[in-house]
């Protein structure tokens, strides 16, 4: 069986050059979490990408064939998926994978093979440093969190804080690192640092401890799934102080999960779903129509990522990996649902986050 498998012929690479008038045909790979833990995020991401794909293909200048592969949130699977996309599917570029961990494994492979790869949710440190073919359009926590903490501290006159984060996840861990750093810079008194683990159901022990220390605010680095529950349990047990969250907290799901308890949650993010920007409104409406729920930041980032990719393809004029990389790297002032977007010299995000606060069951601009 092994032999047959290895010797199965790979598809021939697509002929590269095309006459200018014809649409550019490209195969783009997506690595996302479809099964297993974390599939909630993967689902939003694939939804966002598919929506953007339909828009782009409808326009007809660029015709994209999506190849979506599941990673189950596992590094080996992400790597295998990347190899499959790069070598069997011969894609011109990859969007994904979902987790920073997975990118740490898939990124180097894509980079070595000269395939542009763009993370839409990989916010950990060191992602784009993997190599010059690695991009991301996810605003790293190191940019988002200082903004939200800064505003919250000023407004609520915060002096003493408690930190709470998921310590077994790269995303929440790097968010926490930033929170700690910013707290230090702002000379805040850190009363305690508490952690939780993925999939935990009960946060009462940590919250009781935090409550007993009477902080002015809780800085919480969590993804919305855990975050929403934490908020709800905190409020229920009478911990009423403001919560400042990371990027991952920014999802309508938080409000859905925590209901009233979400009031006062402050997050910084490029994604503001309640914005009056027609682009955003249009996206939200389409997304809701297609999938029956509101898009969150993961969906929005993936949606923008696809459009950035398509634009770069158009600019490159040809579905060629190296050319696409160069035109991607040159992306400046792209106007997406996340606002104005550019890559910096390190292929990392240049974007200014907005600070949001939950009020009346909605995210609103913090002021």
């Amino acid at each position: 069986a092994l032999f047959a498998f290895v010797f199965m012929g790979a598809e021939k690479a697509k002929p590269a050059a095309k006459p200018a008038a014809e649409p550019i045909r490209a195969k783009i790979g997506v690595i996302s979490i479809i099964t297993g833990q974390g599939a909630a995020y993967g689902e939003a991401i694939t939804n966002g990408i598919k929506l953007a794909r339909d828009e782009v293909n409808a326009k007809g200048e660029v015709l994209v064939d999506l190849k979506i592969e599941d990673s189950s949130g596992k590094q080996e699977q992400a790597l295998a998926a990347a190899q499959k996309l790069i070598n069997s599917e011969q894609v011109v570029a990859i969007i994904g994978p979902t987790l920073s961990n997975e990118m740490m494994v898939a990124g180097p492979e894509a980079n070595a093979s000269g395939v542009p790869i763009m993370g839409t949710s990989t916010t950990a440190k060191g992602i784009t440093q993997i190599g010059k073919y690695v991009f991301r359009n996810a605003l790293p926590e190191s940019q988002a969190i200082p903004a939200s903490i800064g505003k919250a501290v000023k407004k609520h006159n915060i002096r003493k804080v408690a930190l709470l984060y998921g310590n077994d996840d790269v995303f929440t861990k790097s968010g926490f690192d930033t929170m700690k750093e910013v707290s230090g810079k702002l000379k805040l008194n850190i009363l305690t640092i508490e952690t939780f683990q993925k999939g935990q159901a009960d946060y009462k022990a940590q919250l009781t401890k935090i409550a007993s220390l009477k902080p002015d605010a809780v800085f919480c680095s969590a993804l919305y799934n855990e975050g929403g529950v934490i908020l709800a349990q905190a409020r229920k047990m009478g911990l009423k102080v403001p919560f400042v969250g990371g990027n991952g907290f920014n999802s309508p799901k938080v409000i859905e999960i925590a209901k009233d308890a979400a009031e006062g949650l402050t997050v910084a993010t490029p994604w503001f779903g309640e914005s009056n920007d027609p682009k955003v409104k249009g996206f939200v409406a389409k997304y809701e129509k297609a999938y029956g729920k509101k898009p969150d930041q993961f969906a929005a980032q993936a949606y923008d990522a696809f459009h950035i990719m398509a634009n770069a393809l158009k600019a490159a004029g040809i579905a060629d990996r190296a050319k696409l990389r160069d035109s991607l790297a040159a992306t400046k002032n792209f106007q997406g649902v996340l606002g104005k977007f550019s890559f910096d010299a390190e292929r990392d995000v240049v974007m200014s986050p907005i600070v949001l606060i939950v009020k009346g069951g909605k995210f609103t601009i913090f002021n």
Binding site: A39, Q197, G199, A201, K204, T208, S212, G228, I257, K259
Partner: protein, 294 residues
């Protein structure tokens, strides 16, 4: 804070205990660790959630619904994943372990298909009833959970030790062929056990929903792992062991967070079992089998 943490710990521990009881029962009779128990428990929680939050029906209906569904799942599990292996030549006890692992993977992914992977709100007005005792707030739910777990434990312990069926169950547990030759319908006994254990999982699922207000398709795994640790800690097949182990674990997890480092919260269960096993290899309440070496 101490009192509040104590209450947190006891609540968590009671739930652990009920989950562990389900494992213990099946292990005691079949010598099998039912790896699908956590997932059955998770389905119980979801059924309860659908009934309470989505259909708005009262809690007792949720318990009933969860018990019915999980019991049915237990029945199917026994019928299709355990019975065909029983007494098969060459079937090691590992085979049934793997078969239940297969079921657990199946159930987890089915749950994912049906319910998605996010958190679901488990909303009951009952869960809001609380009273203040001095400086501490106690939720009625917390008291109820403790009571239910104590009730299930004593009921089960008495049933096993005193009743005819209980004895038949223990005979079945020890030797299928012999029990059969003594007139015990072993298949029925085993089915009953798996069904009862699963139904208890259903009860535990609803309790988790009530206690923490949220459920997702991963709780089966995290609670299941704890349940496993507890039965080892308390001694396989021991009902009291499951109860004591659950409470000890719930309390130690809570107090590790309260007075130590929350980073080791999940590890504490396993540190505890490693320590206890080194002192008493059969677990806290486990009995060494009289192995006559002849």
């Amino acid at each position: 804070m101490f009192l509040e943490q104590l209450i947190n710990g006891v609540t968590l521990g009671s739930i652990y205990a009920i989950v562990a009881l389900g494992y213990t029962l099946v292990f005691g009779v079949l010598d099998i660790i039912n790896m699908a128990h956590g997932e059955i428990f998770m389905f119980g929680a979801f059924v309860g959630m659908l009934i309470v939050s989505k259909a708005g029906a009262p809690l007792p209906v949720a318990f009933l619904g969860a018990v019915v569904v999980t019991a049915a799942m237990g029945l199917l599990l026994e019928r299709f994943a355990l019975r065909p292996l029983r007494g098969r030549p060459g079937a090691s006890h590992l085979a049934s372990l793997i078969s239940t692992i297969g079921v657990s993977i199946l159930l987890e992914n089915i749950a994912h298909k049906i319910f998605g992977s996010g958190n679901h709100l488990f909303e009951t007005s009952f869960a809001e009833i609380r009273f203040e005792v001095g400086p501490v707030t106690i939720y009625l739910v917390q008291v109820v959970i403790l009571l239910i777990s104590l009730l299930l434990m004593t009921g089960l312990a008495l049933w096993l030790a005193r009743t005819r069926a209980g004895k038949a169950l223990r005979a079945t547990a020890e030797n299928l062929e012999t029990a059969g030759l003594l007139g015990v319908d072993t298949n029925r006994m085993i089915t009953a056990t798996v069904v009862i254990a699963s139904a208890m999982g259903g009860v535990a699922g609803v309790l988790v929903g009530m206690a923490f207000n949220y459920i997702n398709n991963q709780i089966g795994l995290s609670m299941g792992l704890k349940g496993l640790a507890i039965i080892i800690f308390g001694g396989m097949g021991s009902v009291y062991g499951a109860m004591a182990g659950g409470l000890i674990l719930g309390l130690s997890e809570t107090f590790v967070v309260a007075y130590g480092s929350s980073g080791y919260r999940d590890a504490i269960a396993f540190v505890a079992i490693i320590v206890i096993l080194l002192i008493k290899p059969q677990g806290l309440f486990g009995q060494a089998h009289a192995e006559a070496r002849r």
